[in-house]
């Protein structure tokens, strides 16, 4: 494979997140993936070799490629997400190398929330541990489309098939209760390279795909289907065309697609209009699909502002100020039911209170434990939320973009929780 082939981007992009417990070898696995696909350049390699020997090691410590922070190198752990970019002739990849340490779970959620595919790593010697369960629960919660279990450090268990199968079965029992479908399990040695890019010669008993083969073939279709969802980001101050009242509403199609002539509805007001034009700097479009940033021009003057959501008239969201959601609590300061928080949903921001805490996930059994205990760092729990005004919502399972929200601490302005909408009133 030549360098030209490896770095000219292919058409589509797969976003991948790695996760797993400390010392499972995530950074080494990413280093291996980059090294064996020739995505590491000469000066980076020289720097890794220099840093490895400075630390008293020999050869290449591939983890030093992504552990870019001083504290990470000092402690030999990953603290925050590192993003790496590489391409094969088949596709382009954005890799989020996320931390395994429980203290930095918020950074794992950061890397995973945008992923098409999650690689969960376990150490073949230890099998499934508490942090594997936590990460599996988060991956399940975020509904990442593809999940791969990489059973790493096969070199340390003599490339033994029985060890691999034991870990695979243990994980299958776990994921069964989380409702995963179609997990692919691969035995790998990140340190020595077996089954990452090259098959190696020591695990002939494994006939499934290598990790790279899997990454190259996983599907990336997201958000293109389903209802049209368009959160209004800004209202243009200029007028478009000849009509005195034609305002442009800047935004991005977050889900589905829109076409000129479509009947649309603006939420939460519920007023309707027709799409007159779809404008970009490069000219007008007849249709715009998920992911495209545009200006939308309607056929009549309406009171539309940032924070409003435009949908098709026949495809309404739930407009409500009370809903049930799952929270992944990401802050060191626990949830305080006496306080109000800011909800950021789409482009809307409003105050909200946690009206009730219903349960909390037990990370060892993965069963919900009922009770009012406030959620603390890294907890996942079900709550009921009362917002200061009605928001146009979908269930996360139906539409990711309008089914998710942030909770922001009003005092520190920090993002304290990731929210996934589950329970909406009927009718």
């Amino acid at each position: 494979m030549t360098a030209t082939l490896t770095r000219l981007p292919a058409a589509d992009t797969l976003r991948v997140a790695t996760s797993g417990s400390v010392d499972d070898g995530k950074s080494t696995l990413i280093g291996r993936l980059l090294y064996d696909t020739k995505a590491i350049l000469a000066d980076q390699l020289a720097a890794v070799a220099r840093d490895t020997s400075r630390r008293g090691g020999e050869g290449l410590d591939l983890a030093l490629l992504t552990d870019g922070l001083t504290a990470e190198r000092e402690q030999g752990i990953t603290i925050d997400v590192a993003y790496r970019y590489f391409a094969t002739p088949r596709r382009r990849f954005i890799l989020a190398d996320t931390p395994g340490h429980e203290q930095y779970t918020r950074n794992m959620v950061t890397g995973a929330s945008q992923a098409d595919l999650a690689i969960l790593l376990v150490d073949a010697r230890h099998g499934v541990v508490a942090q594997t369960r936590r990460h599996a629960a988060l991956v399940s919660l975020l509904r990442i489309p593809h999940v791969t279990l990489a059973v790493n450090k096969m070199d340390l268990v003599g490339f033994d098939r029985a060890v691999f199968e034991r870990v695979r079965d243990e994980f299958a029992a776990l994921t069964h209760s989380l409702g995963f479908e179609g997990v692919t399990t691969i035995p790998v040695s990140a340190l020595e390279g077996d089954m990452v890019v090259d098959r190696g010669t020591r695990m002939g008993w494994y006939t499934g795909p290598t990790l790279l083969e899997l990454l190259e073939t996983a599907s990336t279709a997201r958000a293109a289907l389903g209802p049209f969802r368009y959160p209004v980001q800004l209202v243009s101050r200029s007028r478009y065309g000849e009509r005195a009242d034609s305002r442009g509403y800047f935004g991005r199609v977050e889900n589905g697609a829109v076409a000129v002539g479509d009947r649309v509805c603006v939420w939460p007001s519920g007023v309707t209009a027709q799409v007159a034009q779809i404008v970009t700097l490069d000219g007008t479009l007849e249709t715009a699909g998920a992911g495209r940033s545009i200006s939308l021009i309607l056929d009549r003057q309406l009171d539309v502002a940032r924070g409003d959501l435009i949908t098709h008239a026949g495809d309404a969201p739930y407009v409500t100020d009370a809903f049930g959601a799952r929270l992944a609590w990401l802050s060191a300061t626990p949830l305080d039911p006496r306080r109000t928080y800011l909800v950021k949903h789409g482009t809307a921001v409003t105050k909200a209170r946690i009206a009730a805490i219903e349960d909390r996930l037990d990370i060892h059994t993965l069963h919900p434990v009922p009770g009012e205990t406030p959620l603390a760092a890294n907890d996942i729990g079900r709550v009921r939320i009362k917002a200061a005004r009605a928001l146009p919502l979908d269930r996360y399972a139906d539409v990711r973009a309008t089914g998710s929200f942030l909770l922001i601490d009003e005092a520190t302005l920090a993002t304290v929780a990731a929210g996934l909408i589950e329970d909406l009133p009927r009718g």
């Binding site: 981007p9 840093d51 922070l69 950074n107 980001q233 800004l234 478009y240 800047f250 991005r252």
Partner: protein, 299 residues
């Protein structure tokens, strides 16, 4: 509905980020140096906000160690766009005693941080857009799209805000500010492909030209009035181009015959050295030099 091409997807993501931050910030600015990444940033700002004027001024922190071609390009581009350009100079910070040099000819690159933070204070900016990319450097690879800075302008890499889905929290307390990187997910190759697609002009020193250089620490250092050959160094004429343009005292060209954007793309696709590895002396002083500078307020 067809899937967006990879450049369309990158462009749309960047426009979305620009618009989100403009909507939530009180007083943003866009850093424009005249370099290729900030040229792309200006194009993205046009895509995000035209037919309106830009809802922010352009800001350049001028080390006065810049290449003349780049400064001329900077002024021309701002005028063409009919947008406001604010320039603050490291030389002024030196004159007022805010920056003290150990040697008169040392690189002013690191001192930009002081001038930048002073400009942020002067104008009360609460969000600064920059053209940094995660593929440039390992500390940059760790940075959020929206990066929070405390009242001293410092980055705390161990305590960054989680960034979830496409929901950005651009809120900031008084005195603090945000550094925003809408092209985080772009690579050097993406930038050049976009420059070709959008037919964007870039300063001439990005293209191959004959220039006097000396070999130093495995790099080619340009011979200029500010950077004369050192004792024992032999100045030679070479066909070179710059992959990055910055402070003359620490920015090096690479050997190249690439006279147009297509040729640059072809070269970028097969290079065996990273953009910064080939060009920046200041990154080679320690394995954490970028991180240390960023913690002190560097972009």
């Amino acid at each position: 509905m067809s899937v967006l091409s990879h450049l369309d997807a990158l462009e749309s993501e960047s426009i979305h980020i620009l618009r989100e931050v403009v909507a939530e910030a009180r007083n943003p600015a866009l850093l424009f140096s005249g370099g290729k990444d900030s040229i792309v940033m200006l194009r993205l700002a046009e895509k995000a906000f035209r037919p309106d004027r830009f809802p922010f001024p352009l800001l350049h922190i001028d080390t006065e160690h810049n290449f003349d071609e780049v400064i001329a390009f900077r002024d021309k581009r701002a005028a063409e766009l009919d947008e406001k350009l604010v320039v603050r100079s490291v030389a002024d910070s030196i004159r007022t005693g805010r920056v003290v040099l150990r040697r008169p000819d040392e690189s002013r690159n690191v001192h930009q941080s002081v001038t930048l933070l002073d400009a942020i204070q002067e104008f009360q900016f609460d969000a600064l857009f920059g053209g940094a990319r995660r593929d440039e450097e390992k500390a940059r690879a760790k940075e959020r799209v929206i990066s929070h800075r405390n009242e001293f302008g410092q980055w705390d890499p161990r305590n960054q805000r989680p960034e979830l889905w496409n929901l950005y929290n651009a809120r900031v307390a008084s005195g603090e500010h945000l550094r925003v990187f809408p092209i985080s997910n772009w690579t050097e190759l993406d930038v050049w492909q976009y420059i070709r697609r959008e037919n964007l002009a870039v300063p001439s020193i990005y293209f191959a030209h004959e220039r006097l250089v000396v070999e130093r620490n495995g790099l080619l250092a340009p011979v200029t009035a500010l950077t004369p050959p050192r004792a024992g160094e032999l100045a030679v004429q070479r066909s070179v181009r710059f992959r990055t343009v910055g402070d003359i005292t620490c920015t090096c060209p690479v050997l190249s015959d690439a006279a147009n954007v297509d040729a640059i793309i072809a070269e970028t696709a097969v290079t065996t050295v990273t953009e910064r590895g080939a060009t920046r002396m200041d990154d080679q002083t320690s394995e954490a030099s970028m991180e240390l500078r960023k913690k002190e307020g560097y972009f």
